[in-house]
Symmetry: D2
Subunit: 175 residues, 4 copies
């Protein structure tokens, strides 16, 4: 198996085919007992590059889709809110480590956990993995900020805050 | 509802929420009785532009994801085949008509039907619609060609041809 | 040379290296004597797919960049106008024919001509070619509509209309 | 001016319009005296999202285009090399900090400097800035690895190594 670093395996995996398919639900699957969220997807042509593998910036897209799915799983429709209030999430920092290249039509699971939750910002750990083998393709740390329509940070709405707290076992992120 | 042309509605829709979720299966849903395939997805941030709507080229991506899902539904893994034989599908023509703009986090169904099947090429009609209302966002006609690793057209493999014939009621496309 | 159809060559090309570089100006180059606009770019990793060639939907992006460059060449800043008035161009139809696949780091010229100009809409012919050989990678016909912030078609502003008329030798498009 | 953090300005800027246009050359501009490389581009529709700003993952694309331009400036055509030898650069780590959102049709300069050069890998600092104001939109630290066709790290070819050393004043990167 191709890899760029010492092989890293995710401890909760592999998943069964049925578990992967369930994670392909448009909201993904919120797993409060495990303090995380699973979001399944398939690597598409548009995601790959001439090197035959997923173009490195697209892992950030996978992570974004998973974050939106977390909110949908909590009944929060970011698109409608953006249009009505101008509020939404902006990304302030990303740290991405690439361990092994995913390839065309591979199955992918994005595992999202809360690392730290503040008044107007949060850190999420998002691991992008193979559900079949547990191999970690990439690990992302993402800092998001809740902003108003002038892009000024403002307090997370209560409903957004509540759904986020399900992303850690303790119900609270830890740095 | 926003629209660019006289409103067009799809005759098989709306779908129930359960039907939409079922179409979000990574293989979509093949409906041989109806001679078509449904593929569900959500409009993501990466798909939208500063106009607040889906960037027009991304509807072609949605159609591509649906085509790959059709093949997966037939047990055909294009990525593995590309890597082992160098064969795959190249797009030769696209005709796209945009009727109404899809917005961030909208639900989407891609309905794929066979229009014409030849020895090494085919025409598909792919409608991109709202499962909730039946509103047609865009209609695509796509000509694909099966090519070898030198991009020369060659006969569709039998397994690919067989799955494609499920995309029309008669089991044969008609021009 | 790879190709998907009988080889097509563009009649104004090849360009010299200096001409290609000049067309990479952020506004491209308006050539009123020839009734067209040249926009130069390089195929980037992000544009290619696992087939080793430019992903078919990305030719629509190249054409869009060229259209924005035409307007900038006429002193029109679409981004600022969108933010201040909500007006802009929406694409209503695209017909794309792919003739030969462009590859990573190839040089590209988008040649844009006016086909037809109406009160609130236009048709452009956009050829995507190799400046070195004149080989045509793809030919697009694109119908754009000027819309207000509710996406309703409205009359082209005079300054936009004026710059567009430079895209045909007669100063008028012909169907 | 919108910003996500305390405003950060780049010390070499602003650039004149002529300097920006010069940096839009397909190879960008190598500035060995300053130990850096400038690459100019315009924010396109495809780069923005429904929030009206550049989608966060696309800054990684801008940085990638600048890296390819550095190599072209040194006479190295990565696409041809990938096709002939299977060798190329893979990204192993990215740290991105977003300071202010770039908007549709903004001018952008990517300033690339070498931070550290090893046998088979390097760290680059890439700042994405406004040439008009010197405002920093984003700062990236990127670790790239030279790999063979099996994605195994291997020594930088001499011609690649030579061009990279122009990206620091001392001709050597410093951690």
């Amino acid at each position: 198996m191709l890899r760029l670093t010492a092989m890293k395996m995710h401890n909760l995996l592999p998943l069964s085919r049925a578990e992967f398919v369930a994670a392909c639900h448009p909201d993904g699957i919120l797993l409060p007992d495990q303090g995380c969220h699973h979001y399944g997807l398939i690597v598409q042509y548009e995601d790959t590059d001439a090197g035959g593998i997923v173009y490195h910036a697209h892992y950030l897209n996978y992570a974004e889709r998973a974050r939106s799915a977390v909110l949908r799983a909590g009944g929060i429709h970011l698109g409608a809110r953006l249009r009505s209030t101008g509020e939404g999430i902006i990304i302030r920092q990303v740290e991405a480590r690439y361990h092994a290249p995913a390839q065309l039509h591979d199955q992918i699971i994005v595992v999202t956990r809360l690392e730290q939750l503040k008044r107007a910002s949060l850190w999420l750990a998002q691991h992008i993995i193979s559900p079949e083998t547990g191999l970690i393709f990439a690990r992302l740390l993402v800092e998001g900020v809740w902003v108003n329509k002038k892009y000024a940070p403002c307090r997370f709405p209560d409903d957004v805050r509540e759904i986020i707290t399900h992303l850690s076992v303790a119900g609270e992120g830890t740095a």
